[in-house]
Symmetry: C2
């Protein structure tokens, strides 16, 4: 069997905000006949993950490009690899057989040829398949590892989360509530703020775009200071949070989206505060915390089964809409986990 595989390739590097023009939708024939011994698997992709970090791979230069394989620069014309969920349609790998449901490093394309050594895990259909790019995928692990392993919360801690309605932030806030913390989130419009307070159980939330002075805003929401700041945005918000941290406060740096497009200015937190309040600012990547992967999956699945975690998803349709879905992330248009559904969760 052979299909016409549609895939997205990098057309030109991003300067500032990404747009459709950075990508090109291409088509290439793909044969399902795999060479014995190659251990390859072909996956028909159902959902692909849309994540902010991809922007740093689609730049002339970013210091992040040397950090890890998943963050390496993409060449012009190269297909975009990305986390996804799908079904095995061909396999010469003894670990996978046709019709297996899988999640792993796939791509912004309808079918992916997965080479041995690439992350690919079998999954079940206990939960909606899209969960495996979100709450049960890298976003969930990032939130869980970042919050529990990096922030080391204590019951009663005052927790602040930025980009709190985003894929990671909304889960951090919910994990924090489940851990007995007091949680305030910020987001960029009223609907998101309402979602945080009304649906996700945040103790409070605010629209940062309506605050003239972020430092004063945080002082209002945390009159006694912040124990934990889970930072997804960097820039001025990071400065304001550091100014409002308590002694021995922990800042987990998950991402700095406000600095990715060059529109916001770089954070210059007051290092005098960092010294005297003995603050720890720590950058992390989820995949350094795989030792808690099993705990994360079992705990999170259990929360889902018992309705203790709300799953917020923002799903676009069709490979041709991946570029606009990606661009929308940087305008803050998404609510919850952004992904694109490529096929109708069917093998054929």
């Amino acid at each position: 069997m052979e299909v016409e595989n549609k895939y997205l390739a990098v057309k030109e590097y991003v300067h500032g905000q990404p747009s459709d023009s950075n990508f090109e939708l291409k088509t290439a024939p793909l044969s399902f006949t795999l060479k014995e011994g190659s251990n390859q698997v072909i996956v028909k992709n159902f959902y692909v993950s849309i994540d902010p970090y991809q922007i740093n791979r689609i730049k002339d230069y970013s210091s992040s490009q040397k950090a890890a394989n998943f963050s390496s620069q993409l060449g012009l014309g190269q297909r975009v690899d990305a986390f996804g969920v799908g079904m095995v349609v061909a396999s010469v790998n003894p670990e996978f057989k046709e019709d297996d449901l899988v999640a792993g490093l796939l791509g912004w394309e309808e079918y992916t040829v997965v080479h041995p050594g690439t992350i690919l895990n079998k999954i079940t259909d206990e939960f909606p398949l899209s969960y495996h790019v979100g709450v049960l995928g890298p976003s969930g692990l990032t939130a869980y590892a970042g919050f529990f392993d990096v922030c080391k919360p204590n019951k009663g801690d005052k927790v602040f989360v930025s980009a709190a309605s985003g894929s990671v932030g909304n889960l951090v806030g919910q994990f924090a509530k489940l851990a007995g913390c007091y949680v305030v989130g910020c987001a960029g419009n009223k609907n998101k703020v309402d979602l945080l307070k009304e649906k996700l159980g945040f103790d409070d939330a605010f629209n940062y775009k309506e605050e003239a002075d972020l430092k004063s805003a945080l002082q209002r929401y945390f009159p006694d200071g912040i124990d934990i700041y889970f930072d997804n945005v960097g820039g001025e918000m990071l400065e304001a949070a550091v100014a409002n941290m308590k002694a021995f406060g922990r800042v987990a740096l998950c991402g700095v989206i406000s600095e990715y497009t060059g529109t916001g200015r770089r954070a210059a937190p007051d290092m005098l505060d960092v010294v005297y309040k003995r603050i720890t600012i720590r950058g992390f990547l989820a995949y350094d915390h795989l030792q808690i992967y099993d705990e994360y999956i079992s705990t999170t699945s259990d929360h889902l089964r018992h309705g203790r975690l709300q799953v917020i998803e923002d799903i676009s349709q069709g490979i041709e809409n991946v570029p606009s879905a990606f661009a929308a992330l940087f305008r803050g248009d998404n609510v919850g986990k952004k992904s694109v559904q490529l096929n109708e969760n069917k093998r054929v």
Copy 2:
């Protein structure tokens, strides 16, 4: 007995660089007759410590002023409390008797009345008394705790120290060498650089004032990156170090002297580096690490006995020279531990 006690009081708050005009030398009669039950002790001060952090106490406002007792703001007209070494000349405290040698929180004055609850420890004369404001005092504990407890060095780690000829920096570099690390320091003139390389055993050192681009300079000295940066200065040096850190690098923030006088700009390290290189930036204060105090004193004393640590001191004479000694710190004039000798180490 009664003496005329000379002491320094704050005259006006510092704006920019400190100078003699920020202080006033005053005199007040002091009776050695203490009230029974008051548990007070009078110490004749031999050496008083001159430390950069004091500048933040002598400002209209600094975020550090709320952090800890020792860093609280000094009122106008108030005497300056400071670490020092001296001899007990009067005591109604059963733990101290006349002629005891002591180190603790004394002041920029010839005699200090020490109230119960204030840090005051008996010392011996095994080492020169001045060591107890330096290598065996707060500077030493800061270097030891900051390096071992905060930076968590491994043998072979590449260590960078700024203000490396200063009271803390020179000890960090020497501790790092004793721990089997590769150590490069920076300082502000050729004599200091020579001292680091020739007397203190640093693997290399450079004069940061001769470097047009600190980021490139560090790349030259650490072609494979920095594991540990012990930061005493903040500002551009912190940015340059973060850009040159290795994955999982640790930055111990001990002080940010370049930012104290408002002459340097605030550090805006690239937080994308912090995320992707999983860097930890951690502020600390020595007195949070008292659990290693005994280990620090015994290890350091042992190094001193065996000549494995060089002691670099810069001692001025006389209470009237404290303000100029303090101002000189911010011009980088001192080499090693700056202190002022107030009396001739004699009781009378």
